[in-house]
């Protein structure tokens, strides 16, 4: 799977005071692939995500999204590029003063130029697409469960039909059935819409089921980014423990048994 490079991170350096999070980090995301980013807690996965999205100015190095440095662009151009990225934050980050439908309709009204009625109509479609019932749309984020928030947040991330989808721990906090359905949903959407997905996760099942490539973040850089088999075979103590520990083995076996996965 080698398409055009959508995201290009080169020699990224991120520091918080004396603490070095990234040192010379390189990462690519190709069109149409699902790239999983794994790493020890505190290895800077979220910081990497924030650097790519332009929410944090890196101390050094370059981050190119669609071939352009987000932070160097004039605001108008940057906003255009940002509309081509959908982000699902770890805790959903739904606007708590808007109902689920209004949350999804907001980017449609602001950016796609739809009137409120059409936007909410389309928002209902997105809501249905992520498997939420219509009645849930009028609820407010503080009244629904964590799983529903995740799905609604995914619907919002998909609202503008993005080309790149960023998922920060998409299946964390979901029950296994919902998590499996979520994985499948992402695959379906990827295939149908030609999405490229960058997902940060700790969920081994997700890695085995939907990721085309896996990047391992450790020692302040990307140790290896390749197909799962190659990564799992890499000789590194943390990687070995991660993929060949009890959970890793279970996930690998489950993936082998599962139909539909080549």
């Amino acid at each position: 799977m080698s398409g055009a490079t959508l995201i290009e991170v080169r020699e990224l350096v991120n520091r918080f005071g004396a603490q070095i999070v990234h040192q010379g980090l390189n990462l690519d995301l190709y069109r149409g692939e699902v790239l999983g980013v794994v790493g020890v807690s505190g290895s800077g996965k979220s910081v990497l995500l924030r650097s790519i999205l332009g929410l944090r100015r890196a101390n050094a190095g370059s981050v190119r999204v669609f071939g352009e440095e987000l932070l160097a662009l004039p605001p108008e151009r940057r906003s255009q590029l940002e509309r081509r990225c959908g982000v699902l934050y770890q805790r959903g980050a739904l606007f708590s003063s808007l109902s689920l439908i209004e949350n999804i309709a907001l980017p449609l009204i602001e950016h796609a130029g739809l009137d409120r009625a059409s936007a909410e109509r389309l928002a209902l479609v997105k809501l249905a697409l992520v498997g939420l019932p219509r009645e849930a749309g009028t609820q407010y984020p503080n009244a629904v469960s964590g799983g529903m928030i995740k799905r609604a947040a995914l619907a919002r991330a998909l609202a503008l039909e993005p080309e790149i989808l960023f998922l920060d721990e998409p299946t964390a906090g979901l029950d296994p059935i919902a998590a499996a359905a979520f994985d499948q949903l992402i695959l379906t959407l990827r295939d149908a819409l030609g999405l490229s997905v960058l997902l940060v996760t700790h969920d081994l099942d997700t890695l085995y089921c939907i990721c085309d490539r896996v990047a391992v973040l450790a020692q302040q850089r990307v140790l290896v980014a390749d197909r799962l088999e190659v990564v799992a075979a890499t000789d590194h103590p943390w990687i070995a423990e991660y993929f060949h520990g009890p959970r890793g083995r279970a996930a690998a076996q489950a993936a082998q048994r599962a139909p539909g996965r080549a």
Binding site: V125, R134, G194, A262
Partner: protein
């Protein structure tokens, strides 16, 4: 959700690479020709063309006969928005049949159409919005507001009781005093507020002296400006201005602090750790304000009188020494005691209202804002009403 588990065609991998090289969003017009016997659907059915396509879909939907032939061959780009429109136009069943029979349709397109179709089928028809008569809504609102007011008063009284009992319980046990927290809050709401309190009361003192000078000069009694400034600041303005400032500055801070802790489930965490949020969070704040507000009021009184003295010296030719002498001669100690005696009461109420409103925050950003507003409004209201009542009472008593 199970409907979303669309089967993946074996040829998918190769198809994807073809698709990924094609331009994603082209400016090509969405075109459709309406023929009596059928529809030809083509072009880019994407979000960018949604508004225009939607009006056409709404026009056509009713006219479409069951026998009409639909041609999807020329379909360009397609996203979920476009797929949803197709479902709306053709109906889920018909679209599914079409998707299965159209030869040129890529498998991922088919999957998208099926996914969107199935998702829309699952969710059913929209619920009709409920209509309520305006007058009923009006009376409903009035009732709700009154009920809320009653509940709020009840909750405040209950919370005051809780705080008082907790304070009494903790006073004889110095081991359970949260000294670090107390000192921190003393700094935040006491020390850090000194400059603003001193400056504002100085200015108000000057203004009162000017007013007094202007009016009393007509009676040739400008010397009484000294009494006016001293009386008003010792009895009323010193403590009242400080209390209002602190209500705006500290009650809001308390509400926002406790509110965001509540949102973050920190208060629940304290409870489940077997700790009393009242003892840990509320009492240090209440004690801090109980100490800080009287001190700040004292500063306010001095600063206000100083402002008056400066105006007297500059525009009334009353030198500071004479000002002090008049002060000593005419103003009894009881006026100071009356003023400063109100400070602890105001402090307690401001702190309690700020904390209670913080606990009332539910987990939305809007609620934090509402509760903060409410805490400032309530505490200022309570302070002014109590001050007015106290003034009446004390005047009648001749104190």
């Amino acid at each position: 959700m199970s409907a979303l588990l669309a089967e993946r065609a074996p040829s998918l991998r190769t198809k994807l690479s073809v698709m990924s090289t094609a331009p994603y969003i082209t400016a090509q017009e969405a075109s459709r020709t309406d023929a009596p016997t059928g529809l030809r659907i083509g072009g880019d059915w994407t979000l960018a063309h949604y508004a225009r396509l939607q009006s056409q879909v709404l026009d056509l939907r009713g006219q479409l006969s069951a026998a009409a032939t639909i041609d999807l061959q020329a379909l360009g780009a397609l996203d979920t928005a476009g797929a949803a429109l197709l479902v709306e136009l053709l109906g889920q069943q018909r679209l599914a049949e079409l998707a299965a029979t159209t030869p040129g349709l890529a498998s991922e397109r088919r999957a998208l159409l099926q996914t969107v179709g199935a998702a829309l089928l699952d969710s059913g028809e929209p619920l009709p919005p409920r209509r309520v008569a305006t007058w009923r809504e009006l009376f409903g609102h009035i009732g709700q507001t009154l009920e809320q007011l009653y509940q709020q008063c009840l909750a405040l009284l209950g919370f005051i009781g809780l705080c008082l009992t907790a304070m009494l319980k903790i006073l004889p046990r110095p081991a359970r005093w949260r000294l670090t927290s107390l000192v921190y809050h003393l700094e935040q709401c006491g020390l850090n507020a000194v400059p603003i309190v001193a400056l504002l009361t100085f200015l108000v003192g000057a203004v009162v002296a000017f007013l007094g000078a202007t009016i009393l000069a007509d009676f040739g009694a400008s010397i009484y400006t000294v009494d006016l400034v001293a009386f008003s600041f010792l009895r009323e303005f010193g403590v009242l201005l400080t209390a209002i400032l602190i209500a705006g500055r500290t009650a809001s801070a308390f509400t926002a602090q406790l509110g965001s802790m509540k949102t973050n489930e920190e208060i629940d965490a304290l409870r489940t750790l077997g700790l009393d949020p009242l003892e840990l969070l509320v009492l240090p704040r209440v004690f801090a304000l109980l100490i800080a507000l009287p001190l700040l009021s004292f500063i306010a009184m001095l600063s206000g009188i100083l402002g008056g003295a400066v105006v007297c010296a500059l525009s009334l030719d009353i030198p500071p020494a004479m000002f002090l002498a008049l002060l000593q001669e005419n103003i009894a100690l009881k006026h100071f005691l009356v003023g400063i005696g109100k400070a602890p009461l105001f402090a307690f109420l401001i702190a309690v209202i700020g904390c209670l409103e913080g606990f009332k925050v539910s987990d939305s950003a809007q609620s934090v804002g509402e509760r903060t507003t409410s805490s400032v409004v309530q505490s200022i209201f309570v302070v002014i009403v109590l001050d007015a009542l106290a003034a009446l009472f004390l005047m009648e008593m001749g104190w």
